[in-house]
Symmetry: C2
Subunit: 338 residues, 2 copies
DNA sequence: TTGAAAGCGTTACCAG
DNA sequence: CTGGTAACGCTTTCAA
């Protein structure tokens, strides 16, 4: 069956008014509860609305009222489970407030991100939430002068933007300390992309704890990853090729850990009996790897929720305070004391 | 540092016109390339635009032009990797067309879905893509009378809606045939939610192939799952508690397979040596499970892409033909011949 | 080539 | 309580 192009109809408030024999103003009043309207007129209008299947045009409403009750969200990857959780948090916080979330994605590219934000502004979002990304502080500050903006996952120094930050370095420290406490001394690390702030912070945390414990930092013990499974896979191979001995392996994120775990599996190296693994993020799937992955949990859902609350607050004219959320280690079964 | 509520400015086309000493019409013409404008005026306008940092108000534009260059997408779960892929497909197809995707989610609840679609309509989407969901055919047909609609992942019988379907039953057949061909005779199944069409279709396919091969269908060999990991976990326990012998296990989806695989791991049952597993969906992670999961791939990205292309086509006034995409088996390492 | 004016669908401010 | 009217920011005739 072919789809037949259909004539798609749309009724307006005017038509409703005419059908009900009242003025447009009256219809608007009934719709918004702005003023008292006599019962018979209300009935007539309601009947007309039902008959014409009338729905207010939110575009016109937004134009008139100056705000469209929409919060724009810039994510980096619609398919990333990490951002997806933040989105859910935003969605949850927005539910019931009358504000609808509008999601666009920037794919970790400053120019695309800027373009998307411009798009959101052009659509007259009431506020914007930026989930991480590569925009410079200056760019963000410039946007923030135009409308309320909340940035998450990075420490932004923009006078007008609010932000919800996560202490990545502290997270990495947690992981290494956990390993140290369990007797591991040779701890390898598969890092994230060198140009990614979070990746750098995690590497820094790893190194700091090691040195504080009197263990020399060995560059040969860190392999370059890319935050993807492929990086974990290659990372393990690199480490092995370098003949490094390690009883534990810290991965820059969970996806890296999945790849690393697979590489170890292929090599016949038992986890956690021969090497322990710790990931970073706590993606949903990490509870179901074999063995379930011990990892550093990022409260992403919470970040999304609080970001949304902050915009809402700014929208209400209240000052919103930047916050920093804590990461925590979730203990599962991929680490064994040695 | 506290966020100081900021006065957020917005300049209009009128102001640009005034600053440049021309009429609003002229500015509009320059912006849209609608007509020839003398060079000096153009320069003046461009300067004014830059100085005022003017951005056109898409709300007003949409109101005037009757279309907002936006495609609404109803997904079921922003955090589901399955839908995320479809979203990426839509995004890809829309890139560069001038249409922007607006995503909302319905959480598998008919009433919420309907509400969200109404929201999209109220915002005057040019077209809507519905990714699966629980809306009745009648509801969809009603929406489709109001604007171009494409539904994916289900066979919709609505006169005005176009749809991109997937043959779930055939997918399940593929999997069972594959197992049969490798010598498996005792094939257990962890089913999806009984009220879910796809789940039913897969169960039907499983049963059909078994019977065609002369193997009696045994209800005791199918456990009730829920499309989530927890269902896979419980499913294996149920099967084991029933003292069922099976050399292969088909799971209604990959998430179920992850749970099942973990249950087997806990029980010390080797995969694929003692039992083979096949999943359904081919989520990203399935390449990284240990062992990597053999599964039935659903071309979700492609579904998203084609859905977007279909709306675009309908928007252009062309008829869009419903399509049915094929599932395919992707062979990895979780099945072993016996 | 340019400007004036009408109008997209709403809301809000007036009178009455 | 109700209707007329202006305005939101933009595009698009229609004249000039």
């Amino acid at each position: 069956m072919l789809h037949v192009p259909t004539a798609h109809s749309t009724s307006t408030l005017h038509e409703v008014a005419r059908a009900a024999g009242v003025s447009p103003s009256t219809v608007s009043r009934i719709l918004n509860g702005t003023a008292k309207v006599s019962d018979d007129k209300r009935k007539a209008v309601e009947a007309a609305i039902a008959k014409l299947n009338y729905k207010p045009n939110l575009l016109a409403q937004g134009l008139k009222k100056g705000r469209g009750m929409t919060i724009g969200i810039l994510t980096q990857d619609l398919a990333s489970p990490f951002f997806a959780n933040a989105l859910r948090g935003v969605e949850a916080a927005l539910a019931g407030t009358g504000y609808a979330p509008l999601v666009v994605s920037g794919h970790w590219q400053a120019d695309e991100e800027a373009e998307r934000v411009e798009l959101l502004i052009a659509r007259r979002m009431d506020g914007i939430i930026i989930l991480s990304g590569c925009l410079s502080d200056a760019q963000i500050d410039e946007f923030a002068q135009r409308l309320p903006i909340v940035v998450t996952g990075r420490p932004v120094v923009a006078a007008h933007a609010c932000n919800i930050a996560l202490d990545q370095e502290a997270g990495a420290r947690l992981a290494v300390e956990y390993l140290l406490a369990r007797g591991h001394r040779r701890i390898a690390f598969i890092a994230g992309p060198p140009d990614h702030d979070d990746a750098q912070a995690r590497l820094k945390g790893y190194r700091a704890v090691l040195e504080a414990a009197g263990i020399a930092y060995e560059p040969a013990m860190v392999a370059q990853g890319n935050f993807l499974e492929s990086g974990g896979l290659d990372g393990v191979e690199t480490l092995l090729a370098r003949q490094q001995q390690f009883s534990a392996l810290l991965c820059a994120n969970d996806q890296t850990a999945y790849g690393a775990r697979l590489a170890l599996y292929r090599r016949g190296i038992a986890v956690p009996d021969e090497v322990s693994i710790i990931g970073f993020d706590d993606l949903h799937y990490s509870s179901y790897t074999t063995p379930p992955l011990t990892t550093v949990r990022q409260p992403v859902y919470e970040v999304g929720r609080q970001a949304a609350e902050s915009v809402l607050q700014m929208l209400a004219g209240l000052p919103a305070e930047p916050r920093q959320l804590l990461l925590e280690l979730v203990e599962r079964e991929s680490v064994k004391p040695r």
